[in-house]
Symmetry: C2
Subunit: 273 residues, 2 copies
């Protein structure tokens, strides 16, 4: 069975709808970006983010920098919110279902997925952490590890910057609309900051889906990564039997996996991740 | 010494100027993309490409597809050129200086750099091959491995699609202007093909730098990957002593390395890779 057929045949119980209180709807002038918040990995930072969103702190905020093959970053660099505790790693959650990747990883002893998020693990230290794959969303900070406020966010728009793993708090993952971020004009300054003469794009608004009227509320379903369908699908992606391939390496990197999802919203942009 | 200081102090002999007969200048409406051709890895395909460019076969060609986090592809899908031999791998060149990456790679027994290109190696089979990192340029083909003509090219614009390694001929690497490709509008069709109602961007022209008048000829220097400076720089990138990092993994993936380069052209776009 092809990976696509596996998804079509997956029973509804193998899919879950992203909770609307954990779904951020970022409205740009070009369309909507949807972010699922990772409350199990970064509870304090996610709660802060929900508060900031409800206070409409991001509405009208400029995109501050877009660095090619790296990140897009937005928000208020001068925010006076108190610093957040670093939620860079957590103790391995033995109750969570960790679907592990069978191949070696350059950066961590083990990688895999927990509840729809890419994760790395080190049994030696007893820690696990979200990894910086394409579309992951993190809290910007300066040198002090307590300096992140939640008012500045970044999204990975290129090759996974895995050296950032365990150095920043990841708070979520883009589940739709990634091209609205990945095609933003790159800033001409160092680190991709916009320079004089470049008009920075602006965030129209960020809302929690649950706070939107029913008719405007996005709905998205993600394949449960602990489901048998996901495990079979992952192995099919890894071993590829498509006749186009003459060499099927039978290898797969955690950041080369686009977790299957399906959309249930009429207004969403036709292009999705 | 920081990685930046290392580069500033590198003697001129550690840099090389890309040969103008191996430098493709791709003019888009937004600016120029420069590609260094990998003649040592794909001599037949590179020679074909040079011929097609001199015949001006790409001038006015539409961008056919742009798939988010994957590739941008252009050229004449109906070209009647004879099929090229697959140059997917080559026998390990024992005369070439292979600067190996010290960390494990998910996809290959060994990775590193040869003459400014990312390479994977398998001592068991005696083969080595260019790898699909961000900015690598390949020859599009259909299922038949001899079906690539050189008239259709693609560039990686997202997470390295390493499953394509050894399945397609890579012919070069973008050395400047990557944002002109990475910010192209994504196509709304399957595989990112442009649909009706989307106006595909167009390649104005592709020229070999050597064929351009001196005043319009781009010039770019790449740090020699066999130089002591590159090796020291690579290790500095791997172990990062910047105080921002609280965890320095001391790990580095071959596709997370942006080979240092410097520009010598007045007209080049201010944004580079």
């Amino acid at each position: 069975m092809t990976p696509e057929e596996l998804l079509v045949r997956a029973p509804d119980s193998h899919w879950r709808t992203v909770q609307p209180d954990l779904l951020l709807d970022v409205a740009l002038t070009t369309g909507h970006v949807l972010i699922e918040l990772a409350c199990a990995f970064a509870p304090v930072s996610v709660a802060r983010l929900q508060t900031l969103v409800r206070e409409r702190q991001f509405d009208g905020a400029p995109i501050a920098r877009v660095q090619d093959n790296h990140v897009a970053q937005w928000g208020d660099l001068a925010a006076r919110e108190p610093g957040l505790p670093p939620e860079f790693v957590r103790t391995i959650d033995t109750h969570a279902t960790f679907v592990s990747m069978p191949d070696p990883d350059t950066y961590a002893p083990a990688t895999g997925f927990i509840d729809g998020f890419p994760v790395a693990r080190d049994a030696g230290t007893g820690e696990e952490w979200l990894v910086h794959c394409y579309g992951m969303v993190g809290v910007g900070r300066s040198t002090d590890i307590h300096s992140g406020t939640g008012a500045v966010l970044y999204t990975v728009i290129g090759q996974a910057p895995r050296h950032l793993d365990r150095n920043a708090t990841l708070v979520g993952r883009v589940v739709a609309g990634m091209p609205h971020l990945s095609t933003l004009p790159r800033g001409h300054g160092p680190l991709g900051f916009y320079c004089e003469g470049q008009s920075p794009p602006v965030i129209r608004s960020i809302r929690l889906a649950i706070d939107l009227p029913a008719g405007e509320r996005a709905s998205i379903q993600v394949l449960r990564t602990q489901s048998p369908t996901f495990r079979t699908w992952l192995e099919a992606r890894r071993t590829r039997t498509d006749p186009w391939f003459c060499v099927t390496g039978g290898r797969l990197d955690v950041c080369s996996v686009s977790i299957p999802q399906r959309e249930g919203s009429r207004w969403m942009a036709p292009v999705s991740t």
